[in-house]
Each structure stands twice: as C-alpha cells, then as structure tokens.
C-alpha cells in the first residue's frame, strides 16, 4: 500500500475508524459499534444483492438470451438455450409468490427443485470425500517394514533435492526391519478410528467393556478437539496480528510514523 492519494488516505482513516469502532464493542456495546455494525449489515446486503443481480440475472440470463436471439435463425439449439433460461427465471419468479400468501404454495416448486438437486449432488460428494478415501487410508498393514525401494520411490515421487535424499537414504535401516515407531502409531490410529466410531453407534448402550471402549473413543475425540482448539487460537491471533499491522503500519504510516 504505497500509492495513496486523497481517497486512499481517506479510505485508510475511514477503515481505521471502523476498526476502532468495532473493537470498542469489547469495552461495551455502544453507538459507534452499532453504527459500524449496521453499516456493515447494509453494505454487505447491498454487495451480495448487487452480485446476485449482476452475476446471476445479468450474466446468466440477460447476456446469453440476448446473444442467443442472434443465433436462432442459424441454429435451432439456441431456442433450447433460451428456453432453459426462461424456465430458470420462471422458477425464480415462483419464489416471489411468497410475497402473496394466497399463491405462496407455488414457491414450493423451486424449493423442491433446489433441495432435490442439492441432495442428488451431495450424496456422491460425501461418499467420495469422507467415506471411501478415509477407509482407504485406514486399511494399511499395521506393521511398517522398511524397504529401501519404497523409501527411495517416495523420494523420487516427492522430487527431493539431492542432499536431503542422500541424508534420508543414510537413515534407511536394512530391509525387513520393523519400524517400531510407525507400527505403534498405526495401531493407535486404528484403535482410535474404531473406538471413536463406536461412540457414534446408537444401537448399543454404553455399558461394560463396550462402554469402556467407547470411552476411549471419547478421549480420541477430545484430543482431536483440543488440537483444533490450539490451531484455531493460532488462526485467530494471526488475524488480529493482521489488523494490528494495518493500524501500526498503514494507519500510522499516513501520519508519517514508520515502524518498519
């Protein structure tokens, strides 16, 4: 952010003011925060509405239909294309029947279409993303055995730089040795998957030995949530660091204070 100009500097001051207004909520709820909040609500609604008008209504409907009419004489497929847009618009207009309670039942058609579409697309996506690959990743031999060929293949695959590859090659023990660290880790992983899965098994009460096993699953879940918490602290702090850098570097920069 070097080149500023009047509007640029004004923008930095305005955003700095909004930043301070928003932070003031931490002290207590106050009119400045309310102002920033309500402005943001309005501006974001305006932004998304403008995007909807422009990207959907204009770009997906008006432009192709206008262009399509020029082709209707030479290519009948253009009529089909225009028809698709009109059907889409008709469905969209049916959504607006909600403004009139007497015919609001019409809005079910587009809603039913949207929901059905989302369901049909969603089912394979979830399986592809969450079920099969994760089974694939779990179904590995629990014992990990060093083989020079496998390790070197990995290095070729990763395209390591030569020094690192040489260093790693030195570390490979003779073929056929059990890699204890990895083996134990894989066993832990496997038990973790099974026990955490059993916690979400609803057909059996959590009692006795099985109850203890699901308890182990809860521990795994908690470790996972703890890890997420730790990582999220990192993320949030990073964002705050971003705002502080804006205030310290950009805003103070417009006043001639340069910290860097």
């Amino acid at each position: 952010m070097e080149a500023h100009g009047f509007w640029g500097v004004l923008g930095i001051w305005f955003s700095a003011a909004l930043t301070v207004f928003a932070f003031s909520f931490l002290y207590k709820d106050n009119p400045f925060y309310r102002f920033a909040e309500s402005l943001f609500v309005g501006v974001s609604a305006g932004y998304w509405a403008a995007m909807a008008v422009h990207e959907t209504m204009y770009r997906d409907v008006v432009v192709p239909v206008m262009a399509g009419f020029r082709f209707t004489s030479s290519d009948p497929a253009a009529w089909a294309m225009i028809l698709h847009r009109l059907v889409g618009c008709a469905l969209g207009l049916m959504m607006w029947s909600r403004f009139l309670p007497r015919i609001s039942w019409m809005s079910r058609w587009p809603m039913a279409f949207t929901i059905g579409f989302g369901t049909g697309v969603g089912i394979p996506y979830y399986i592809q993303q969450w079920l099969l690959p994760q089974i694939y990743g779990t179904v590995v031999p629990l014992t990990y055995i060093w083989t020079r060929a496998a390790e070197q293949k990995k290095q070729i695959g990763w395209g390591l730089n030569p020094e690192l590859a040489a260093k790693m090659a030195e570390a490979i023990p003779p073929d056929g040795m059990l890699h204890w660290g990895l083996t134990i880790s894989r066993i832990i992983l496997f038990i973790g998957v099974l026990s955490a899965l059993s916690y979400f098994f609803f057909s059996k009460a959590h009692k006795g030995a099985y109850g203890k096993f699901t308890r182990v699953g809860v521990y795994f879940l908690m470790i996972s949530f703890g890890a997420t918490f730790g990582n999220t602290v990192m993320a949030r702090m990073a964002l705050l660091i971003g705002r502080i850098q804006f205030l310290l570097y950009d805003w103070l920069g417009t006043m001639g204070v340069h910290l860097q």
Binding site: Q128, G159, L164, A235, A238, L240, Q245, L248
Partner: protein
C-alpha cells in the same frame, strides 16, 4: 453447599474480561515495537513436503495457485502465496493464479507485483493472473479440465487468453504439475476432491489454522502432497525459502508476526492454567454440568 463468595481466587475468576482483552492486545502489539526481532521457526514435514514438491519441478512446468480467500484471512494465506510464487518464479516455473471469489484476483495481483520484479519475471511470459469466475469452484475445475479458454476467455486485465504466451503451456488442467489451493473454507477440499481425485493433478493446500487439524486426515491418505497450516506454516515456508531460495527476501510477513504469535500463545496457555488454578482454589469445580 454454599461456597465462600470472596477471596483472591474467587475475585480472580470474576475479573472483568476487558482486562483480558487488554492483555491480549498488549501481548500482540509490543513485539511489533521491536522490528529487528526474528524468532527461529522449526520446519515441520507438511510444509517441507510442499517445498520439496515445488523444488522437484523443472523450469517451464506450470503451477496453479487458487486464491480462494477474501482479505479477511489474508494475514495467514497471503504469505503462503508469496512463498509459492517466490519459489516458482525464481526457478522459472510458470505460475497461474485464479479464483472463484471476487476478492481473490486483487490479492493475486498484489503478490505478483511484489515478487515478480525480484527475479525479472514478466506478466504473461512467466505468470498469469486469470481473474475470477462466478458459478462455484466445482464448475471452474470441471471447465478447466476440458479447456481453460472456455472458463477464462480473458485474464484479469482483459487480455485474451489466446494472446498470452504462458497460456500456450496451460490449455487444460492436466498440463499442470501442481495445484496449490489457498482457502479459508471447504473450497480447498473441493479442489482436492476434483483436481486430485478426479483429474490426477497433485494438490497442495494452504489453509487457515482452524482447518489444519482436519486436513491431516487427507495428508495421510495421499489426497494432498503437502499442507501449509496457518501463519506458522507460512513462516516455516518462509524459512525454507530464505535458507534455500532467496536469502535476501525470504523472511516476510509471517515471520515478522511469529513473535506476536508466540507471545499470544503463551498468554493463552497461562490464562488456561491460571483459570484452572483459580477454579481449584475457589472450589467451584462442580458448578456446571459437563459431558
């Protein structure tokens, strides 16, 4: 039953949270008053894998960087983009940037402006900013797999793709050697699911810290070739760049933030410990039911 409602520990728990906010702000701001401070960063495997993969590419290969985030998460993700661009452009690997979010292309332009001049790379020859396309990332990836110019007829500044020299080497997705998806949402998963699982182009992701823990599951199955997690991951990458690629300019934003990051983490850990200690001392442990 009634616990004593006074004493140091009791009042410590009832402390006004504004003091906590104040401490956080101070712990983050003070390290910036000492700009010369540089915290050593230990590099972990997931970041090294990204570095190594890019390192193994040859001059003239193509790498796609998807800027799927808005400026609100830029502190974490932009340093990653800068590092990837630095490593690629130094080597002569071509970089293509695109986005499915309208906020992405200005960030990409800023990254290229910052990096390209350092290695004498020019827009159009060595890197291209393709801009953004509405309609969702799924439609974009499916379109790219068929034909780039059908999705992006022009680049960000409106030049026709057919006139851009670098685009001769990127006609469809499979021409690329790597996709780097930088995202603060599930878009990274979509890139991974489509580009890697469906079209066989390796995908590395850079994600915000919130999502890191879940992405380790994908790293293990080989769905990802590498993972950059949050500002720390970016700082790790910056260190690799600074040590191996460009000693002059490697350290940048993320490394500068690491002192603040460390201070704030320690502060939070102290908060947790102190809060628990206060709970034990004031005997309020059984107040709330927990699962």
């Amino acid at each position: 039953m009634q616990q004593p409602r006074k004493g140091f520990w009791y009042s410590a728990l009832r402390i006004d949270r504004r003091y906590i906010f104040m401490l956080v702000f101070v712990s983050l701001t003070v390290p910036f008053l000492f700009p010369g401070m540089r915290v050593p960063v230990e590099v972990q495997n997931p970041a090294r894998q990204v570095y190594d993969f890019v390192d193994g590419l040859n001059e003239g290969d193509g790498v796609l960087v998807a800027f799927e985030y808005s400026p609100s998460t830029a502190p974490e993700l932009t340093p990653m983009a800068t590092c990837v661009a630095r490593q690629c452009l130094k080597k002569g690997v071509r970089v293509y940037a695109l986005s499915s979010a309208p906020e992405g292309p200005p960030i990409a332009a800023e990254v290229f402006r910052r990096v390209a001049g350092d290695y004498g790379r020019t827009e159009g020859e060595d890197y291209v900013n393709l801009g953004y396309k509405p309609g969702g990332v799924q439609a974009i990836v499916l379109g790219l797999a068929q034909n780039v110019s059908s999705v992006f007829p022009t680049d960000y500044v409106g030049r026709a793709v057919a006139d851009i020299p670098a685009m001769r080497h990127f006609k469809k997705l499979s021409d690329l050697k790597l996709c780097v998806a930088l995202s603060a949402s599930t878009v990274a998963e979509t890139w991974m699911g489509l580009a890697s699982a469906r079209f066989g182009v390796p995908v590395a992701t850079g994600v915000t810290g919130v999502m890191v823990a879940n992405f380790y599951a994908y790293l293990d199955t080989g769905q990802l070739v590498g993972l950059l997690g949050g500002m720390k991951g970016a700082a790790e990458y910056e260190r690799l760049i600074a040590e191996n690629v460009d000693p002059e300019r490697g350290y940048w934003f993320a490394t500068r933030g690491m002192a603040s990051q460390s201070a704030s983490h320690v502060l939070i850990v102290l908060f947790v410990l102190f809060g628990n200690l206060a709970m034990i001392m004031s005997g309020r442990g059984q107040r709330r039911r927990r699962r």
